[in-house]
């Protein structure tokens, strides 16, 4: 084919280039086939790292496309939480793929078998990807930070109140609002009192009484005027009564507001105590101070997986944007458009896992676990994702139901007879080695509501002094050491309830009562002094603003009551005088004036 340019005919196609193009295409295809395993391995590592939030490493990956099979050897997934720990390692994974969905860039795995799965193994480098403030990890970290855990510390010496920010106190704001309400009420009542014009009505009645002094009983017109004046007096009295009623309820509301300032002040005391990290002496505070951070850590981990599940397995069929692939250019966003009755972008129908678990000091044994229905589009698959594993002393069950609009995630796991990881008590130079014990975690998140429980029990606890210097020696540490070092058992229970936005944490342990009593005996007096100091600081910030408002409310109540009383007295006196004159004029005893 040719076309004419100017006066010359120019061929549209460059036929001689077709052969080199075909050769180039064949070479490209050959290179792809040679490097397909490597490309797929790198892609799998990159996608896995993005999904998990920690490094995913694969020793070898083999694509067997004619048989629709992928083999992965030496899989290592780093822990997104611990720097030098793996989440899991697997010797081999074999996935049977459905080939046709691959043409739609969809991955449907009929069956996956994993052998040699090990959890919590050590690694040499930090495998956590991204910052602690990024993505789901950042979201969960911020969520954990809102759970305030009291610190266990004996107040020694002077405790600085410098960190007490007046802006955090609620009483001054409440006082200012109450003062404004009082001003507004005074203005309204003043205006209504003026509107009553009681003095004019009373004067008019008094003048009428004077006119009646020399009048005759036959002066019908005057008597009619007197009755009208009496009627006006009664109307004025009714208006005063109505205003009295309104003022009484208004004053009561202001007084309730004034009483509310006392409650606000109590809350400010609590806020100030929390800011100054003064622990309470109640047992629940002790439990939260000792094991709160550990419990929050467990709940954060559980919620991390729940949030990841919700991010990558969202309910519904609306288009979804996820971050695009990493490249030199901007990543942009990749949008998925699921269609009813279509294939999900990712689906793992069933997985059979061979897990290696071992009690402390024993050779690991192999147990079976299973996974099913893991998909990027639960609404298309129509069934929830499930996971289960059972072994002597180990039980795991999880269900992620994102089929319906409100996601429902439940999981329960317990592990008995295995070496529990050691714990360092927060801010104390004491380390707890629970030894072989039982740990259990249950979690249910429905929509935004969370209900979770973490328990840990051990009968052979070992307490050691932590000499690493992470927490310096302190009187509190010595005191706690004296109490706990003689206790051989441990039972900790933590629960999390409420909404994800406003969770409530409660922690208790068998150490709480013993420590609380000991702390109360030793440090109660010092703590009381510190608390008095904190209260005094709050008083100094609050009282100056509260007292004038309270005085204003008191004065306003008295003032309004007094003024209304005065108005009523004027009207009563005038009415009495007018009625007496009328009775005297008509001279009929027992006759009731209208």
């Amino acid at each position: 084919m040719t076309h004419i340019v100017g006066t010359a005919r120019v061929a549209v196609f460059r036929w001689k280039a077709v052969r080199p193009l075909l050769v180039f295409g064949a070479v490209t295809l050959g290179l792809w086939l040679v490097f397909a395993d490597r490309i797929a391995r790198r892609t799998a590592e990159s996608v896995g790292t993005t999904l998990i939030g920690a490094e995913v490493e694969i020793e070898r990956l083999h694509l067997d496309l004619p048989h629709g099979r992928v083999e992965i050897h030496g899989l290592t997934v780093a822990s997104p939480f611990e720097a030098l720990q793996n989440l899991l390692q697997a010797d081999a994974l074999v996935a049977d793929l459905e080939p046709l969905p691959l043409l739609e860039k969809k991955l449907v795995i009929d069956r996956l078998t994993a052998t040699g799965l090990k959890f919590g193994t050590a690694r040499l480098t930090d495998g956590r990807a991204g910052g602690r403030s990024d993505g789901v990890m950042g979201q969960v970290t911020r969520w954990g930070e809102q759970l305030q855990v009291p610190a266990l510390a004996l107040p020694t010496g002077k405790i600085s109140a410098a960190r007490l920010d007046p802006a955090q106190l609620t009483t001054p704001r409440a006082a200012a609002a109450l003062g404004a309400r009082a001003d507004s009420a005074r203005q309204a009542w003043d205006s209504q009192l003026k509107g009553l014009d009681v003095a004019a009505t009373a004067d008019s009645a008094r003048r009428m009484a004077e006119r009646l002094r020399g009048a005759k009983a036959t002066d019908v017109k005057l008597l009619g005027d007197a009755r009208r004046t009496l009627g006006q007096l009664k109307q004025a009295q009714d208006r005063v009564t109505a205003l009295e009623r309104s003022a009484t309820s208004g004053i009561a509301a202001l007084q309730a507001g004034a009483a509310g300032l006392t409650d606000a002040k109590q809350r400010d005391y609590a806020t100030a105590r929390g800011l100054l990290k003064l622990p309470g002496l109640d047992a629940p505070d002790i439990g939260a101070a000792l094991f709160g951070p550990a419990a929050v850590g467990r709940f954060q981990r559980a919620l991390y997986w729940v949030e990841l599940g919700r991010r990558y397995m969202p309910p519904g069929l609306l288009p979804r944007a996820t971050p695009g692939p990493q490249r030199a250019r901007r990543a942009g966003a990749t949008v998925r458009f699921p269609r009813a009755n279509g294939e999900p972008a990712f689906l793992l129908k069933t997985a059979e896992l061979s897990v290696q678990l071992g009690a402390a000091g024993t050779i690991p044994r192999t147990y079976a676990a299973s996974l099913s229905g893991v998909t990027s589009d639960p609404a298309l698959y129509g069934r929830p994702a499930t996971a289960s594993a059972t072994a002597p002393g180990f039980r795991l069950g999880a269900l992620l139901d994102h089929v319906r609009p409100t996601p429902r995630d439940t999981a329960t796991a317990s592990l008995a007879g295995v070496a529990l990881p050691p714990l360092s008590l927060p801010s104390l130079p004491i380390r707890l080695e629970p030894g072989a014990g039982t740990v259990a975690l249950s979690l249910a998140v429905q929509g935004d509501e969370v209900r979770a429980r973490w328990t840990m029990q051990s009968d052979r606890v070992r307490w050691t002094r932590d000499s690493s210097g992470a927490a310096p020696p302190s009187p509190t540490g010595d005191l706690v050491w004296r109490v706990v070092s003689g206790i051989p058992t441990l039972a900790v229970s933590a629960s999390l309830t409420g909404s994800l936005a406003r969770p409530r944490l409660a922690v208790s342990s068998n150490l709480d009562r013993a420590l609380a009593e000991r702390l109360r005996a030793v440090a109660g007096a010092e703590l009381a002094v510190a608390e008095r100091r904190v209260r005094a600081q709050v008083d100094s910030l609050v009282d100056g603003q509260v007292a004038p408002v309270l005085a204003k409310v008191t004065v306003l109540g008295g003032d309004v009551t007094r003024r209304l009383g005065g108005e009523r007295t004027q009207l009563d006196d005038a009415r009495k005088a007018l009625e007496q004159r009328l009775r005297a004029l008509t001279g009929l005893p027992g006759v009731r004036l209208p």
Binding site: V5, G6, A8, V10, A11, V12, F13, R14, K16, A17, V18, P20, L21, F24, G25, L100, L103, E104, K105, K106, P319, A321, G324, P325, R327, R329, R330, A331, G332, A333, T334, V335, R336, F337, P338, R339, G342, E343
Partner: protein, 173 residues
């Protein structure tokens, strides 16, 4: 090195035996390679077109080289175009859903905001770019081309080995 290649491409293209139309068509096709993310299926098609169609290969390489930085610079705009088309235009949703669930099409990554945005932009730019560059080349050849041909810089560029490689793909008159 990159700059040198760019200058070589520029000289080779402007002084090739190809017509201004061939050169402009090559440049406009090459702009696809520069404006859109390179490793995508649609660019394989564009590359095949550059090879098979009788357009200036040097022009295409020049277009590619010139528009790579433009692509990087305009990525935010491409992202916006892509998001608007993919997410904020409900009328197009049935089309995207059909394409997303069709064989092979998803392999083009059309559902990536940068890919779609840049592809739409490059397609819209193709015609104006073709005519503008053709006019520019005609003007260049009529005015300063001869003087440039006599310059030492030009002679050193055309003497390089890369120039010989280019001659394999020069347009057929």
């Amino acid at each position: 090195m990159l700059l040198l290649k760019l200058i070589q491409s520029l000289f080779k293209a402007l002084h090739s035996e190809g017509t201004p139309g061939q050169l402009a068509a090559g440049l406009a096709l090459g702009s696809f390679l520069g404006l859109t993310p390179l490793w995508n299926l649609h660019n394989a098609v564009v590359f095949a077109l550059i090879i098979v169609l009788n357009v200036s290969f040097a022009g295409a390489m020049l277009g590619w080289a010139l528009f790579v930085p433009v692509g990087f610079l305009l990525d935010p705009a491409f992202d916006w175009i892509g998001r608007t088309l993919l997410l904020d235009t409900p009328a197009l949703r049935p089309l995207w859903t059909a394409l997303y669930n069709a064989p092979v099409v998803p392999l083009t990554s059309f559902n990536d905001t940068i890919v779609l945005g840049s592809l739409v932009f490059a397609a819209a730019l193709w015609v104006p770019l073709f005519f503008a560059s053709r006019w520019g080349i005609v003007r260049y050849r009529a005015t300063v081309a001869e003087r440039v041909k006599r310059s030492a810089l030009y002679r050193s560029v055309v003497a390089s080995k890369l120039y010989n490689l280019y001659r394999l793909f020069r347009p057929e008159a």
